[in-house]
Symmetry: C2
Subunit: 418 residues, 2 copies
């Protein structure tokens, strides 16, 4: 057994001019990691013949697995398939099962006439193993050359994921003899990266060479991740768990959870365990907190809903914030968020509520209430708390920071049995 | 003047194991593009000395500008700065303005004791030009070697963006003599990529070599983008506009807008122009449509708010969906979404409303109502319409598809003056 390294090549001009954010690479890396394959290098190139060719040459020297995504569409800017045909000394042949599938797709599902361009999608180089695509018209292709495995997949995320999961990943044990990768992640809140590093310095320095520690700061929180590689899974896990235990013990004052979960998942887990429910009243976050909570399956067990009161009239009408409050201290105030939180909790009959009101920018700030100023309230059936924050970043980051601080405030509130 | 090519190197193990999605690269590419610099290549490497060194060697051969992000933190996994010091034959010196800023930051803003590790952030190789960071403790650094410019920036997105915008981009005209890049993008809905390609085949074939056409399919919509490079800005724009006009004319039946806008921006623009308002009642999307609308500045002019009725009790209590409807045809039905839409429009007193109810998965599907089945309603003060969709993908994609189809339904509804 040996370490198996992979490279990921993503193809498409849209990646290089920044029109599209590459989410495929992260997903591919995660999935390969689970099989013990380590992504060592990632490259993005445009729809340019020489650049793709060169990337294939270079990456195959670095890695024994090269995953290629994109450039397989039916339009003229997609040149990957003819290029692969030439690169792997093949000639184009029709892959009958794919042609049958495409024909079926157009006749029965899309109910549109199939054109020549669509049928051409069924052509593949005769030097490849076809990974039949049941989510689209572009088949996946697997090639082998000089000891390297090359896998070409469409760039459309849900097609790529389907082909990886159902076609390529099941082939990995046959193709590679690899070791194991073990990750352990913990989430901390309320402490800076530097301070944390000082706190755990001796633990970090005592780590063996095959276990690496990474710091991942994000939105006022820091994740610590141990990554280890080895060939005996059981002893590797035991070893990593030992070091991970030391980290958890040392950071316990700021520890949110010893798993790789997002904050909304941590809050959801907490609510589920306690059999409690939550509603939100959102002004400046415009439904983002509700979106975060409901993006995870099973959230209906603890999340009832939200009143997004973007307009002040809605704060008055549905959330019963009195005119007198809005006209004196205003919408971004302690009184307003507390009333929003209490009202939504009452309307939705929940155990807890979150309410937020603030100025996200770029406009709308004043001297007294600058962009980034946010009031956050959390309530239970017996307690209520409101806090002010000043973020002062751009709109997107202010929204994200407001959401993460609101969720963290609730988490602490619940843990304190308030 | 000549074409100036750039490479982007992102550094960090978290990118290679897929824990973090790289949003920096897309943003950097967009900003460089505006100055006429073309990103030709993008690479991600881990926190590994040899890999970073090799990437610097390789990318400097390809590009006259190499942007490096990440690896500048205060912790032991961040090795980029010592590496750059060695790579560019420098020795570490203290950059006094940065040290003053860090000291100020800890004393006045963070109000935490500054530790040795923080002060070390102010050290830089004496062979660099410092790009002073006013958003964090890691300074940006600019090096020049063998005709290539290297810029090293922190990986934290808001710090990187601030340094690019305020420090590096203003230096571009001095450093490079470059041409101009012109992009034009249009958005279509309701037509497949292949069919569109047939429809515009002759226009595509007649494009000169310096103008490229790209197809960008996403969520049932296809973007067409023309990208051109040249040295005479005025004549280039005129030329691109000519071809763009042909594309718009040819695709007019499916044309949403001739700009690079998201669908929620198109809807927002339409509402603003007409002086109309919108509210949403969201079940299965959990506030995602409201979040999309409010993620753009100025949305308070047309968006009043949302009732996220995740729990059926909220559909009854706030949105007046009768028990009899929920108990017979159920929450995912034409009757339910129409009532949700009408109620939220009335409660929030808006000109239009959107309501959605469906099963996003992975659980909760039945034979009659499978995962991916969604009812969407839109209403105006005089009309109402409901449509059923079947998406059948994963949860995240189902939520995104529901949002984009709901927004598109409203767009058509408004354009038909209903």
């Amino acid at each position: 057994m040996e370490k198996v390294f992979a490279s990921v090549i993503t193809i498409g001009d849209e990646l290089l001019i920044g029109q599209v954010i590459d989410t495929n690479s992260a997903w591919i890396a995660q999935e390969l990691n689970k099989t013990g394959i380590l992504v060592k290098h990632r490259v993005a190139v445009g729809d340019v013949w020489e650049d793709i060719w060169q990337a294939l040459d270079e990456e195959s020297k670095r890695a024994s697995l090269v995953i290629i995504t994109g450039g397989l569409g039916p339009t003229a800017d997609d040149i990957t398939k003819p290029l692969l045909c030439k690169y792997f000394d093949g000639k184009m042949i029709v892959h009958q099962p794919t042609l049958d599938y495409i024909t079926h797709l157009f006749e029965k599902v899309l109910k549109r006439p199939m054109i020549e361009r669509n049928a051409k999608q069924a052509e593949v180089p005769d030097t490849c193993t076809v990974l039949k695509n049941e989510r689209g018209t572009a088949p996946g292709m697997l090639f082998q050359k000089n000891g390297t495995v090359f896998v070409s997949l469409p760039g459309v995320p849900h097609e790529m994921k389907w082909l990886m999961t159902n076609r390529f990943l099941p082939m990995v044990p046959e193709l590679f003899k690899t070791g194991f990768v073990v990750h352990r992640t913990l989430l901390t809140a309320g402490v800076g990266e530097s301070f944390l590093a000082e706190q755990i310095k001796d633990i970090e320095e005592a780590l063996p060479a095959h276990i690496k520690l990474a710091y991942l700061p994000n939105y006022g929180m820091v994740r610590l991740r141990l990554s280890a590689f080895g060939f005996d899974k059981e002893s590797l896990e035991k070893e990593v768990d030992h070091h991970f235990g030391l980290l958890k013990e040392r950071t316990k004052e700021n520890l949110v959870i010893g798993e790789d979960l997002s904050l909304e998942q941590v809050v959801g887990k907490l609510l589920k365990e306690k059999g409690k429910t939550l509603a939100t009243a959102e002004s400046c976050t415009g439904g983002y907190i509700a979106h975060l909570l409901t993006s995870h399956p099973g959230s209906s067990a603890y999340f009832t809903g939200s009143v997004v009161s973007y307009d002040n009239k809605i704060k008055q009408k549905i959330l019963q914030v009195p005119d007198s409050v809005l006209n004196t201290v205003g919408a971004v105030s302690e009184e307003t968020v507390l009333q929003m939180a209490r009202s939504v909790q009452q309307i939705m009959d929940t155990d807890y509520s979150i309410a937020v009101s603030g100025i996200m920018g770029p406009d709308g700030g004043t001297d007294q209430k600058p962009v980034g100023m946010v009031w956050i309230a959390v309530t239970s059936r017996t307690h209520a708390e409101a806090k002010i924050f000043n973020f002062r970043f751009d709109r997107r980051r202010n929204i994200e920071l407001t959401a993460s601080h609101a969720l963290n405030l609730l988490r602490i509130f619940i843990n304190e049995n308030r």
